[in-house]
Symmetry: C2
Subunit: 197 residues, 2 copies
DNA sequence: GTCTATACGAGGATAGAC
DNA sequence: GTCTATCCTCGTATAGAC
């Protein structure tokens, strides 16, 4: 129990520090100092520094993979709502799942995606790929139900999802800069309005 | 002249190594070893390691700021071409300016944007902001000339440019992974086709 | 099983000799 | 301008105390 306690503390401190300063800048000594143990004690719980980041990314995969973008609920959802309401509903679901801890991990993954292969694959698969598939099906179903007028529902879906992606990117940069980001959230609804015309 | 020679060599090696491995991982000793001087010699040309990155980012600002996205050429361009041709033409201009050296610097800026304030501001201003303004005017002018049918040319412009942004992001990640990226280039033309319908 | 103490090589950076 | 010598911090491994 002492073991699990220390390990959990180390992980929490690491998530906090990594998200604030970046993985490379944070030292093992800094993490253990915050917990109150010597740096050598960390190696009883983690293989090395990289292992900590690895476990943090696994937490993200677990949370996102379990709960987000279920393909089999689309048909039913679009029976009850029109496309505009359904897209807004999906945005709300997304915000709801974004706990402070998950927001930190999200930031860590964005920060490390260019240097860490696992973080990069999470971005490609979980953040780009799976939502892409999800919204392609959403737009396809809406198209078949005459709820969307376009010649290319798949390309429109990609545009929608990739615009959201860039907005989340911009939001993260402005968040780090300490700028106001409430207007970026508003922009997402603007885009839904444009698409559903 | 010996000074300028060494400084230029150090800068070139730094650009190459930073783009391949990332700023933090590359050591001052590694850079100077490639040039053939001692690590302390580097401090005659640069204040510190961060100063090198700073200068590299300045090179990017200089190149992009001088040549890209001139607002005053839009009216004339759209007189000679329809919107579809003009967007394709702008893409080609962009590819043409992307020399191997600039591609490396581009990658460095993407890698460091979450940790380095100056890189972050370059992304926000030069990569997101200025193209955004440019395409907003393009779509506005096309709208006024009846070359574009929509109720919200500004939002559509943002969607177009932000979709390109995410594509460049995805392209960089797949490039680092050593994956094939030719189909991403094709996707840009698909999106132009969708918008111009 | 978990901790502290300690040591090693490598990192960024500086001072002073040539 | 470039060198050698030096300093402190880093990630990590090991030995031994409880």
């Amino acid at each position: 129990m002492k073991r699990e306690n220390t390990k959990q503390k180390l992980l929490d401190v690491a998530i906090d520090l990594f998200s604030k300063k970046g993985y490379d800048v944070v030292s093992v000594r800094e993490i253990t100092r915050h917990v109150g143990v010597k740096e050598s004690a960390l190696y009883n719980h983690f293989r090395n520094k990289a292992d900590i980041l690895d476990i943090i990314i696994d937490i993200f995969i677990d949370e996102v993979g379990k709960t987000s973008f279920p393909l089999d609920e689309i048909d039913e959802g679009l029976k009850q709502m029109d496309l505009s309401a359904y897209l807004q509903y999906q945005l709300l679901l997304f915000y709801k799942k974004m706990t402070p801890r998950m927001a930190k991990i999200w930031q860590i993954i964005y920060m490390e995606q260019f240097r860490n292969k696992k973080a990069r694959d999470v971005v490609l698969n979980e953040i780009m790929g799976r939502p892409d598939k999800f919204y392609k099906k959403v737009f396809q179903v809406a198209f078949e139900n005459d709820k969307l007028k376009t010649t290319q529902p798949e390309t429109l879906a990609k545009m929608y999802q990739y615009t959201l992606l860039s907005l989340s990117w911009e939001q993260m940069l402005r968040h780090i800069n300490g700028e106001d980001i409430s207007n970026i959230i508003e922009k997402r609804y603007e885009i839904i309005r444009l698409i559903c015309d």
